[in-house]
Structure formats: C-alpha cells, structure tokens
C-alpha cells in the first residue's frame, strides 16, 4: 500500500476508541466479573520459604472445614496435570508445574490448592493446611549462584547456570585491537514488573458428558498456547475451548499467563464443577511468572578517536528466577536491535542465564530489549565522556543514514527504514535543548542547582518472528515460524460489517479501534459502525496474540487481505446487477461504481442484500454470503545460519525514538524531579495518533518507575520484601511529568500502510534517557549512573562514592 496520508480517510485520525463506552459505564466484562451457575472458588497455599524441601503436607483439617469441596496437593496435581508449557533449554531438567512438587523454589510458589463454596472459605481452609518444610540455603545473588559450591535450584540441571552461549558477529577482536578508545563498565538493572492493576484469573468448566473443558481467562495468546495447555491439562486440544476476557492491563505479564488457567482447569476436572481462580495481589507479586529482566552486565564499547563507534562486547548475567518458561528469548529481543541506531560493525554477545530462588521471569514491555537499549546508551555516553564529545554529536555522527535501508546489522537482522537524524532534530527542538543547556549552566553557577539533560536515541523493534526463542539452541532445529494473525470480516444482509479477532488482543491497547479504522478505510464506513468481536478457540483461526508490538501491523495485514476478497466478490455481484463488465467497475465511496460514470453504482448494502438473499439471480459460481477470512503471516523472516553467525531476519519492522528529559537532582535528598520531558517517536504510518500518544506516555511512566522507583526487593533469605503496593512503588500522577510528544512517520516498506509497532517505545527509551539525565546533573561531582532504579538512597550513595574518589 503506497497511498499517501492525504488519500487516507480514517488511518491517521485520532478517533474516539470504540472499546471505551463499556469500560466507562463499569461494564468491562473482566474475568472476575464473570461467573457460572454452581461455580466454586479456589485459593492457594503459598510457600513462605524461598527454597525448601516439602517433607509432609497434612490437609485433613482443611478438608473437614464445611464448604470445602476439594484439597489438591502438588503431588496430586502432578498426577492430574503434566508440566507447564516451557520453552527453556532442556525443560525436563528444571520442570515447572502448576503446584510445587517435593521442593519449593520461590516465596509464593503454590503448594496446595483448595476448592470451596466461596473464596473466603477456600482461604480459611488454606490456613488449616499444615506443610512441613526443610529449609535449604536460598540462592539469591545471581553471581554467587554461579559459583561451583552454590546450592542448586534444580539439581538435575547440575548448575545454576541453566544456559550459556557466546555469539560473535563480525571481527570483534580486530575492531577492539584497532580502536583508539575502549570504555568498560559493570552495569546493574534490577527487576521490576508489569504489575497490571488487574491480576490473572480463569474460570474453568469441565463437562464430563462431552469431555469438553471450557476456560474463560484474561491471558492473551491463548490461540497459540492452546495445544500446549491442553497437553498440560491432559485433554485433547479439540476438547479445550478458551474464551477471552479483556485484560485489565498486561504490559507483557498476561501475554502468556497460563498457570491460572491450568489451576482452574485442573480443579474443574477434579471436581466436575465450574471453578474460578483469580490471583490475589500477593499471588501476583510473588508468583505471577512475569517478573522483568534482572541483569548484570560487563560491557565494553570500542571507538576510534574521532568518536566513530566500532564494536560492542557484552557479557550479560541474567537472573531468571526459579524457572525459564521463555528460555532466553529476552536476549533474542536484545539482538534484534543490538547495535541500536548506530553503524557498529561487530558484536560479541555472551549470555549466562542463571537460576535463583525468585519468581521466574516472563514478559515486561520491552521483553529485554529495553534493558539492552539502556546498556548501549549508557556505554555511548561513556565514550562521549571519554572523548569529551557532546552526547548529541556522538549519536548524530554514528547514525545509520536514511539511504542505507534496508540495513542489515551484524547479527543478520534487518532494519526496514528510518530517519534517525530527523527524529533527533525534532526532539531537540521540542525539548528546547539549547535553552536548557544555557539554563543548566546558569542555575549551576547562580543558584548551585544540579540540572541534567538526558538523551536516548534508540530502537523499538516490532513484529517478531519466533525464531528468536530457538536460534539459541543448535537442536532441535526448527523451520522459520510464521506467527500468523487472522481476521474474519462479515458483511451482513444490511451491509453492516463485523470483524472477528482470534487472539485476545485487548489489554488496554485498542485493537478494536485499529481494526474499525482499517475496515473503515477499506469500505468507507464509519469506524464506530464496525462491530469487532473476539472468537473462542473452538471456532478459531490461527493467531499468535499481541506481543512484541505486532498487533496493529498484523491485524492491518489481515484486514487488508480479507477486504480484498470481499471487494472482489462484491465487484462480481455489482457487475451482474449493473450489467457491466467487472473490469469496467471500481470500488468508490463505499460501493461499486462504473469507471467514469460514478452515478451508475451499487452501495455495499445493496450488494450485500443480493449476496445474502438472492443468490439465484447471480451467476452460478457465486455462493451466498459476503464474508472472508484472512490469515496473515509474518511479512519478512528468514532462517538463521547453522553456525549462528547470521541469525536471519527475525524482527525487521524497526521503530525509533528519541527521549530528552530535563531533571533536577536534589543532592541533599537524592530525589530526582522532572522539569521537562520531550519524546519523539517514529512508528511508521500512524493509525490513531492520540492512542499511540497514550501508549508513549504510559510506557514512559513505566520507564520512570523502572528508572527511579520500582524494584522487587529480595532480601538475603530470598523473601520478597515489598509484596504490596504500599512498598512496591508504582508512579502516581505526581511522579510522571507532562510529556511533549512529536512524531515522525517513516513508513515500513514491508507492512500494509507502512505501519510499525509502537506500543512499547516509552518504556524502551525512558530508563536510558533518565539515567543519562541524572548522570548529566551530577557531572560536576563525577557520578556514573550504572544501576537502576536510581532510588534516592542509590543517588546519595553515588554522590558519597564520587566524593571519596576525589
């Protein structure tokens, strides 16, 4: 599609979201709003220990409590269920189950499930379960976990380093040998998480008469994991029907949240009654399977003396927690944009994935790429400092240029398009950069204040191909995955359009609005007249679900394909009705008209009426109805090479952004305050600019949390010290500044309308930008910011340390 912005009627307009009225009226239909006749409720007994052997479980008293229907221990659950779906290396050696068996591996891990007539009774019964534990040495610090004599989280792995691989792309040794300057640092990114205000839940209903297990849930990628969850629950995949409910926030954490469904499904099968299991907040914080990245980096960046970046060498230790459901896919994400927007010629990426006694990692907005952005930008700032270069100029000097696209980065992934200098210039202008540089100087000299201006110019990969999850392993070799998304469009007899989606794409983004706008663009109807519905899996088409900022691009492809099929048929019907040759007709203003004679036309509704009711008046080859399915596959992905020196194309739709925050650091309290925040994003062609802005602001707010406030703090015993919102600090309206937002639209050559994904960019930029701003504010003190979150305590420590070095 190469139409220009002026030619588009609906794509590019900030229309009101079609999703919103039900939410505004308090009729959202979330999973906890849903119930079934005779439904029972489940609660879990959670481990109070980080690491312990389960010696004995006494459930007799719990079973005797009136209202209790069933009590299921981990051992019993292991009979009822197979292990959870797991993409980790050699999953059998670090088996993950819905309830712990023999040993608990993190605080909060489920040990026993209770089913009762009410949630309160189930929780009362949990208090009556007596579990005898034999505590083991907790494995908490990831680097200590790597030592030979460390206690093992999973004995069968034989080490706490569950996976290690050192990938080299290009001639790293030569580039380092020839470099004029090499900077190195140890950097620490501590774990935070999506923490949606709604937890994960499921309502399962097993029918012993048909063998059908129906699960309602708020996890999103259910179409893709259906057959795996069916395997866990020991039901045939065609006897498992999953129905989606809107997710009250996800940010990755409900992308693939299978445990609640497994628990509810298991308990419904065991009791023969519908069972609801909804995580409470403590369940979610301690055991949601979706904590974010937790990394230690040892990094080196090589450059010539004029500031030309040459080569990046990274060793990264990632604290995965107790299990590794996604393997090291997070590092595949990092490799998608490993050189950022820069012409860095070679890369060494050495990953060591470590098991510890913490909640396992899952997905959090950025999926590990945001951490790499932060690492790379921190290292670029270090080179600039070393060479006494302006941080803006070193970036400008190293950008990939607009005429170099499509640009293959050293590891084999491709960047489709971009104009990084254009984005940078817009951001500098929006931030009032020159003014603030002067103000910074003046306020330092006249008032002794510490103002800092941060800059981050980084990538936002979108539209993944799942190769990134398996190219780490030599075996099993798999073909390229197509990661499809499907849409069905139906035009009914009155000419009204319904679009059906096959994964639960709603998690606070606006797939219904996007699809409505895309359909409106195709058929010239009003977007708010398009009905968008979600299908359960029993009538499903192939779908993958949202993640890696793929939804809008993939749905746009599917909508376009289905629209073309419908338009083709509509044209044939109109040709018959107008007694004209199809080649003399064209689609025009919501109907079909004779070329050059626009008055001779049939509206979509007239054509639809014919198609639905009067098939016998049409040529025999035309079947009744006006509907089409389109399964849209990944637009551009290729195989990795066998030696993994080339990973192939796996994440080609490459957005870009520049964030420039201005902060003030109070050197007495360590508090960071925003004075200004500018963000310019390039997500290709915009569909609904205000909606994207909402995601940029919201993502930035989460990035601010990651940079300044949020951390799951595990103490030396492996206890999660802040498992409530009183202690885990989510930014409020007082911590998030007003953003000034700009857009650049560099279309992708590979997608319909040139759209790129844009849902994660805020969080992929803000931590790097804010770290840079804090360091700039404290430049005169010689502070280096190499750890996040930069809590007031850490900021004060840095200042003290820097003073000590003077």
């Amino acid at each position: 599609m190469t139409e220009t912005r002026e030619e588009r009627k609906w794509v590019g307009k900030s229309i009101q979201r079609v999703e919103d009225p039900k939410f505004l009226l308090g009729r959202g239909g979330y999973i906890d709003d849903f119930g079934l006749e005779g439904m029972l409720h489940a609660a879990l007994v959670r481990s109070p220990h980080a690491h312990a052997r389960i010696k004995n479980i006494d459930v007799e008293e719990a079973r005797r409590l009136p209202g209790v229907i069933a009590v299921v221990t981990g051992t019993e659950a292991a009979e009822l269920c197979d292990p959870m779906p797991d993409f980790g290396p050699d999953p059998a050696s670090h088996e993950w189950r819905c309830l712990a068996v023999d040993k608990v591996r993190n605080v909060g891990e489920g040990v026993v499930a209770v089913v009762a007539e009410s949630r309160d009774i189930a929780e009362d019964a949990c208090d009556l379960v007596d579990v005898e534990y034999e505590p083991l040495a907790p494995v908490v610090d990831p680097e200590a976990a790597m030592e030979e004599d460390a206690e093992l989280v999973h004995e069968m792995v034989g080490s706490n380093v569950a996976f290690e691989r050192n990938l080299i792309f290009g001639d790293v040794d030569r580039d380092f040998a020839e470099a004029g300057v090499v900077v190195e640092d140890r950097l620490r990114w501590r774990r935070s998480g999506g923490q949606p205000l709604e937890t994960v839940g499921a309502v399962a209903s097993y029918d012993p008469g048909t063998g059908m297990l129906t699960i309602h849930e708020n996890s999103l990628s259910f179409t893709s994991y259906l057959f795996m969850l069916a395997g866990t629950l020991k039901v045939p995949s065609n006897k498992l029907d999953i129905h989606p409910h809107p997710a009250g926030g996800s940010f990755g954490s409900k992308l693939w949240a299978v445990k609640a469904a497994a628990i509810a499904g298991m308990l419904s099968k065991a009791t023969g009654k519908p069972v609801k299991y909804i995580e409470d907040r403590v369940d979610n914080m301690t055991n949601c399977d979706h904590h974010g990245s937790d990394r230690v980096y040892y990094a080196e960046l090589a450059a010539t003396n004029d500031g030309t970046l040459k080569s990046l060498r990274v060793r990264v230790i990632d604290d995965y927690g107790a299990y590794m459901q996604f393997g090291v896919g997070h590092h595949g994400n990092a490799l998608a944009q490993v050189v950022g927007p820069y012409r860095i010629g070679s890369v060494q990426y050495h990953v060591q994935a470590v098991l510890t006694n913490k909640c396992q990692q899952g997905a959090y907005r950025g999926f590990g790429s945001e951490v790499h952005n932060w690492l790379l930008e921190r290292m670029v700032d270090l080179v600039a400092k070393e060479l006494e270069m302006d941080p803006v100029e070193i970036r400008r000097k190293n950008f990939i240029q607009p005429d170099q696209f499509p640009y293959f980065i050293p590891d084999g992934n491709v960047y489709d398009s971009g104009d990084y200098e254009g984005v940078l210039d817009k951001a500098l202008e929006l931030a009032d950069y020159d003014y603030w540089r002067e103000e910074q100087k003046r306020l330092r000299e006249e008032e002794g204040r510490h103002i800092g201006i941060g800059i981050c110019t980084a990538q936002e990969r979108s539209v993944f191909s799942a190769t990134e999850f398996w190219f780490w392993f030599d075996e099993p070799a798999a073909p390229v995955t197509s990661t499809p998304e499907s849409v069905t469009l139906q035009v009914d007899a009155a000419g009204n359009v319904t679009a059906t989606l096959y994964s639960c794409a709603f998690w606070g983004n606006s797939p219904e609005t996007m699809v409505a706008q895309l359909v409106a663009e195709e058929f010239d109807v009003q977007p708010h007249q398009v009905n968008v519905v979600y299908s359960g899996t029993s009538q499903g088409l192939p779908a993958t679900g949202p993640g890696g900022s793929r939804t809008t691009v993939m749905l746009a492809g599917a909508v376009e394909g289905a629209s073309q099929k419908i338009k083709e048929k509509a044209l044939k019907i109109a040709a018959h009705l107008l007694e004209a040759a199809p080649e003399d007709l064209e689609w025009s203003d919501g109907g079909v008209a004779v070329k050059g004679s626009p008055a001779q036309r049939k509206e979509l509704a007239e054509i639809a009426m014919s198609a639905h009711l009067f098939k016998h008046q049409l040529p025999t080859e035309i079947e009744s109805g006006l509907a089409a399915d389109q399964i849209y596959d990944h637009p551009y992905t290729t195989m990795p090479s066998e030696d993994r020196k080339d990973l192939g194309v796996f994440y080609p739709i490459m957005g870009h952004a520049c964030h420039i925050p201005v902060v003030e650091v109070d050197v007495e309290t360590g508090l960071v305050k925003f004075l200004k925040y500018a963000a310019v994003h390039d997500a290709g062609t915009l569909v609904n600019p205000r909606s994207l802005n909402g995601h940029i602001i919201g993502g930035t707010a989460q990035g601010i949390g990651t940079a300044l406030l949020e951390e799951y703090v595990y103490d030396e015993e492996g206890q999660l010290a802040n498992a409530s919102y009183q202690d885990y600090l989510i930014p409020s309206a007082m911590e998030v500044p007003e953003l000034v937002i700009g857009h650049q639209e560099t279309p992708s050559p590979y997608t319909v309308h040139g759209i790129k994904g844009g849902g994660e960019g805020g969080r992929m930029m803000a931590p790097a930008a804010i770290a840079s701003a804090i360091e700039d504010a404290l430049k005169s003190l010689g502070v280096r910011v190499n750890e996040l979150p930069a809590t007031p305590e850490r900021v004060l420590d840095w200042i003290e340390e820097a003073k000590g070095l003077e």
């Binding site: 900030s14 009101q16 979201r17 999703e19 919103d20 009225p21 039900k22 939410f23 505004l24 009226l25 308090g26 009729r27 959202g28 979330y30 906890d32 709003d33 309160d120 009774i121 009362d124 999506g194 923490q195 949606p196 205000l197 709604e198 809107p246 997710a247 009250g248 926030g249 996800s250 940010f251 409470d280 907040r281 709603f506 998690w507 606070g508 983004n509 606006s510 205000r690 909606s691 802005n693 909402g694 995601h695 602001i697 919201g698 993502g699 930035t700 707010a701 989460q702 409530s724 919102y725 009183q726 989510i730 409020s732 309206a733 007082m734 998030v736 007003e738 953003l739 805020g762």
Partner: protein, 159 residues
C-alpha cells in the same frame, strides 16, 4: 460463616436490605451481592484506588471498608454516574480525551474526579493532577486523565 449482620444501604439511589458476613468488604458486597461489578479490586491494600466509591459523599476505598460499616450509608458507584442511558459528562470527557486504556482503574478515577469537581468545579491542571494522584493508573501515565477531568469540569459547568 457464623457472623452475619443485617445491613440497609442505599446504592446509586436504590435501597438494599441484605444479610452479610461481618468480614465481607464493601467492594465484595457491591460486586457479589448486588452485581455491581464496575467497582474493581486492584491492590487489596487501599493504595491503588481502583475500588473507590463515595460513601455519604466522601470517597472511600471499598476494599478496606466492611460492608457492615456501610449500614445506613449512601453509596455512589460508577454505575450511578450515567443517567437515563446517557453518559455523565465526565464519562464523555474521558472517552473524548482517551483518559483510559485498559479501563480497570477507570471507575475509581471517575468517582474520584466526580468528588474532586464537586469540591472545586473549576480546578487548575495542577490541582487536578494532585487531586487525582491518590488513584493509580498503570496504563495512561495520567496526562490524558488530567485533560479528561479538566474537560469534564468544563462540560459540567456548561451543563
């Protein structure tokens, strides 16, 4: 369980006589006994504000208030804002300004904004930001919520 009490509560203008467990929270009573599922439970600690309702005109965290404490009280929930099938001006403003994404915090935000604007029908942007800061939103970054409340205030003044 054994400890049950009779309560009489006016919710969104309708009186309800119910027998509830003494330990039942107001949020659970509204959701489970009255089917008013627009009031959401988020953090269960009184921090996030998703469960905000008005009790005798003042906002409370219904995840911390027991249903029996609401005996003889008047409660307003998000379901009480729209009238005769028409959205409240605040709801219209939140829709227009995209002051929501996933919608989970929205009922609490709307109720809190309603209270805020009754205290001060014409607040500044800073006052709105501070006034709304006791409710958490994980999606929006608050900017469009602030815009929505200001727009809602204008709509209400002009209504």
């Amino acid at each position: 369980m054994s400890h049950r009490r009779r309560i009489s509560v006016v919710v969104n203008g309708s009186r309800h006589e119910s027998e509830v467990e003494a330990r039942k929270y107001l949020a659970e009573f509204l959701r489970e006994d009255l089917g008013l599922v627009g009031t959401h439970i988020g953090c269960e600690h009184g921090v996030c504000g998703a469960c905000t309702v008005l009790m005798d005109g003042a906002s409370v965290r219904s995840c911390l208030v027991l249903a029996v404490q609401a005996n003889e009280a008047e409660i307003l929930t998000v379901e009480g804002l729209a009238r005769d099938g028409q959205m409240h001006p605040l709801q219209e403003a939140f829709w227009e300004k995209q002051g929501l994404q996933c919608g989970y915090c929205t009922p609490g935000m709307l109720v809190r904004a309603y209270e805020l604007l009754r205290e001060d029908p014409d607040p500044t942007a800073e006052e709105v930001r501070e006034g709304m800061s006791n409710n958490l939103c994980r999606c929006t970054g608050y900017q469009y919520i602030v815009e929505a409340v200001l727009d809602g205030a204008e709509r209400m003044r002009n209504a």
